[in-house]
């Protein structure tokens, strides 16, 4: 049996100890936020927090987690009551397909917990491991900046109407 503490709740799971955390979250705990992207730690779609650190859950065997608490995007809020970072992503409409977004938010959450007011350069550097293919990066940066209190890097000009 593997004991896992996820989002403040302790679980006993009868699974292969080599199972990557991602599969335990999605299949056993019904936490679908973290996504399978590459299984190689190259894209960050599976990012969750393990003891507060952004971690590729696709690579981390459940046996290696021990007593460290795991947090997933589901711990930050719900669609009805989103957390501050989730709210910022909604306000900036910072998603296209959105497949990468749970991982983006969790990596950003790790940064903001360690350093509440990062600079734009620090945010970019921190987010480097996570890939987005839709090109939503600038809205993601703006949403993170909005929560960190640093000036947003993107402006939104008004629509100009001709005729």
């Amino acid at each position: 049996m593997i004991q896992l503490t996820v989002n403040g709740v302790s679980h006993m799971l009868d699974i292969d100890p080599s199972t990557p955390l991602l599969y335990a979250l999605r299949e056993d705990l019904n936490l679908h936020g973290a996504k399978f992207g590459c299984g190689l730690g190259q894209c960050g779609a599976c990012t969750v927090l393990v003891a507060g650190k952004a971690t590729f859950s696709c690579l981390m065997p459940v046996a290696a987690i021990g007593t460290r608490p795991v947090r997933t995007i589901e711990s930050l809020g719900t669609a009805e009551r989103p957390g501050p970072l989730q709210q910022a992503f909604i306000e900036h409409q910072a998603a296209q397909c959105g497949y990468c977004i749970a991982g983006m938010i969790m990596r950003a959450q790790a940064l903001l917990e360690a350093s509440p007011h990062p600079t734009d350069a620090e945010i970019r550097k921190h987010m480097e491991p996570n890939l987005c293919r839709c090109g939503t990066h600038m809205r993601i940066l703006a949403a993170i900046s909005a929560v960190s209190g640093s000036p947003a890097s993107v402006g939104k000009p008004a629509t100009e109407t001709v005729r």
């Binding site: 397909c97 497949y99 970019r124 090109g135």
Partner: protein, 755 residues
């Protein structure tokens, strides 16, 4: 099929776009008047529009009944259907806005459903930036006609003047306070009627939903971990499958040692048919482990050799056996005094979806249901029925969102895997997801291309002739038969893919946007199409337009320099389309063109394109920076002007343009598929790098020009070509070196500019 459908000549249920590729032919029948019949040709199979339906708006041409789009339930709930799908562009929200506006219903009160062969209209593929033109136009008109029919019914029921009635939230009200809900009016109205060519459309000046940045319906769930994708589907009794794919094209499976896979905990079954091989397990990780064991037990024969990447350009000229002249204009011209020519190259690129393709299949009581992120559930349904020798009405394909696809990725192929495995294990839902290397190695890549251009200037700096040729293989290997589904080609009795055929103008395939919108008195433009493909290819966002607009727009800069003219002024001088001029001038003005002062290592570039010469107008000025020591290029800033007709959701347009620019910058500067004779080598993100945060621009500003009441023009692919052209021009401005082979950044650039 209803009797009414038959009476209408069974209009083939597929797609249409308001502005686009239609060929009108006339059929002369003895003793009868000429009947117009419209054939719609875009991606996928051509579609014939029934007689008398060609005047209808958008996809009403192929799905003319109003109640195919809008249903009123006895409890007064309103359900609106589209035959299109959400691919991550936010278009579901925009379509809902259109319907809500004309139905005069709060968007939150509408149940809005997307493509499902069991219940939605058949709008073919969601592709080619057609959705707003096809489905948006259909919904706008269908909703207005439904509202009018219900209002007329209320006028009769209430004995009131229809002009005095108002509609709000599925209820029609008279000035004296009496009212009827839509549901109460159902007995007095027939919504199963064919749409009319004209509709009582709302005055755009009084729009309250169209034109507003309604927040996307899907984002709250996506940012909080709610199940949102086909990858997230869970069903009682569901099992997990993984497939083993050949190590190279056409490699035969010689033998399989199944012992390792069978010994894996949770093992359920190995399914093999010829070269199709898969393993099914209770749990997902067990399926992954079993797949690894099974893969290790396979012995494959040699596959087909690939060309070396550096041979591709030369080989394209040999295998492109169809020479299609897409423009040939001749007019008197001033004497040419200067002639320029250039050759451009593009490598194979991949879609690069972040989530590998996935599907769930379930065979129950002879009925096969497949949940899929395919761009075309109806064409997929037809292909699956053929592959499995099942009647079409026993196969249902339901769209569920997946990771962004940007075109024809593995979605249909993995759906065929799920269908095949579900039939092998009836009664149990089977979820299949490809692994990262499979998504990369078995993609339908966007074709490598070569373009060659020659043009002459007169003494006053005007272009007097233009000669352009391109070489490319197919951008359109969509599912038109079972053989276009990868698993069907692996069966012991394999299906053969339908032959590759070129797409036709005005939409075009490889030749999309090959015809410049500029005024060219003499032009000769040739699409050299290769029906054979060294690598599997198909549609990727903007098809040939990325390459053609890159070539045209960077060559326009060369011509401007040769004419001693400012590149923006040079474009303005050669442009007649007033809407094109508006976006060109707006982008230049917002950027502060011409830029008087440059930072060291920085450059500015400008480009324009009207997508397919039929859809959204995009002009942009960009600033880039170059590191001379490394060849690293970064897009720093873009000022973009966009005109896509009547804007439905301005923030949705901005999001698509911003994303398109970043994706195009990644293609243009950084990406190329790696391969050699033995196979594809770009199996992961290390061997196929794409843009990361360190290369993301500091600023992109999108400036929208709204055209109230004008037709919706597709916009989601419109930035790809202009972004490539503007970056190419900025790179020349920064370095003085003209690069014509993409990707533009990296080692080849460093070799030419290193200090």
């Amino acid at each position: 099929m209803s009797r009414d459908d038959q009476r209408l000549g069974n209009p083939a249920r597929r797609t249409f776009m308001a502005s686009g590729a239609l060929v009108v032919g006339f059929t002369f029948l003895p003793g009868r008047q000429a009947l117009a019949e419209m054939v719609l040709a875009d991606e996928g199979a051509a579609v014939h529009v029934g007689r008398g339906l060609d005047k209808l708006a958008g996809s009403l041409k192929t799905n003319p009944y109003l109640d195919a789009w809008i249903k009123v339930a006895p409890d007064n709930r309103i359900t609106v259907y589209t035959g299109k799908v959400e691919l991550g562009t936010g278009v579901r929200t925009a379509l809902l806005q259109v319907a809500a506006e004309e139905l005069q219903i709060d968007p939150g009160q509408i149940t809005f459903l997307t493509a499902d062969t069991g219940r939605s209209p058949d709008e073919g593929l969601t592709a080619g930036s057609h959705t707003m033109a096809d489905s948006g136009s259909a919904l706008l008109n269908a909703a207005a006609q439904v509202r009018a029919l219900l209002t007329d019914a209320a006028a009769r029921t209430l004995r009131a003047d229809p002009a005095a009635l108002t509609v709000r939230n599925a209820r029609v009200r008279a000035p004296d306070g009496r009212s009827k809900s839509f549901a109460e009016l159902l007995p007095a109205v027939n919504l199963h009627v064919v749409a009319k060519p004209t509709s009582p459309l709302t005055d755009p000046a009084s729009f309250t939903v169209i034109g507003t940045a309604l927040a996307r319906l899907d984002i709250p769930g996506k940012v909080t971990g709610a199940p949102s994708y086909v990858q997230d589907l869970k069903m009682p009794g569901m099992v997990h499958a993984r497939v083993v794919l050949p190590p190279a094209y056409d490699a035969p499976l010689q033998s399989v040692d199944e012992s390792g896979a069978r010994a894996t905990p949770g093992f359920i079954a190995i399914v093999r048919d010829g070269n199709l091989l898969a393993v099914v397990a209770q749990r997902e990780w067990q399926a992954v482990l079993a797949q690894r064991a099974l893969s290790a037990g396979c012995r494959w024969g040699r596959g087909r050799a690939l060309p070396q990447p550096e041979q591709v350009a030369a080989q394209l000229r040999q295998i492109a056996t169809e020479r299609i002249v897409v423009a040939d204009t001749r007019a008197p011209m001033a004497t040419p005094v200067k002639t320029l020519h250039a050759t451009y190259g593009k490598r194979y690129l991949m879609h690069g979806s972040i989530g590998p393709s996935c599907a769930v299949g379930h065979m129950q009581d002879g009925m096969l249901t497949v949940w899929t992120h395919s761009q075309g559930v109806y064409p997929l349904r037809d292909g699956l029925a053929e592959m499995l020798s099942m009647p079409k009405d026993k196969v249902r394909c339901i769209h569920v969102e997946g990771s962004g696809c940007y075109g024809h990725n593995g979605a249909d192929d993995v759906a065929a895997h799920a269908a095949f495995l579900a039939r092998a294990l009836p009664g149990r839902p089977v979820r299949v997801q490809w692994m990262r290397d499979q998504e990369n190695l078995w993609d339908h890549y966007t074709p490598a291309m070569v373009a060659q251009v020659k043009a002459s200037l007169s003494a006053d700096g005007t272009i007097v002739d233009w000669d352009y040729a391109l070489w490319s293989s197919s951008h359109n290997e969509r599912v038109v038969n079972a053989g276009r589904l990868l698993p069907a080609t692996h069966l012991a009795r394999p299906f053969a893919p339908a032959p590759s055929v070129p797409m036709t103008q005005p939409e075009g395939g490889g030749d999309r946007n090959a015809i410049p919108l500029y005024r060219l008195p003499n032009s000769h433009i040739v699409n050299n199409f290769s029906p054979t493909m060294p690598l599997r290819t198909s549609a990727m966002r903007s098809l040939g337009a990325h390459m053609n607009v890159f070539a045209i727009e960077t060559f326009m800069d060369d011509l401007a320099h040769a004419a001693g003219a400012d590149p923006v002024q040079f474009r303005v001088r050669h442009m007649d389309d007033p809407r094109a001029l508006d976006v060109i001038r707006l982008a230049a003005q917002k950027f502060g063109w011409p830029q008087k002062v440059r930072k060291p290592g920085h450059g500015a570039g400008f480009a324009f394109g009207k997508y397919k010469n039929l859809m959204g107008y995009v002009a942009m000025a960009v600033e880039i920076s170059v590191e001379r020591d490394t060849g690293q290029v970064r897009l720093e800033r873009a000022e973009v002007a966009v005109d896509c007709g009547q804007i439905v959701n301005p923030d949705g347009v901005r999001n698509q343009i911003e994303g398109g620019i970043l994706q195009s910058a990644s293609w243009t500067l950084y990406e190329q598929l790696r391969f050699d004779a033995a196979g594809i080598r770009s199996f992961d993100w290390g061997t196929y790098p794409i843009m990361r945060f360190s290369s993301v621009p500091a600023q992109i500003h999108v400036h929208l020009i709204n055209r109230p009441g004008a037709p919706f023009l597709g916009v989601a692919e419109a930035a790809m070509g202009p972004a490539a052209g503007a970056i190419g021009n900025a790179l020349f401005d920064a370095t003085g070196v003209r690069l014509r082979d993409m990707p533009l950044g990296g080692e080849p650039l460093r070799a030419r500019i290193a200090p």
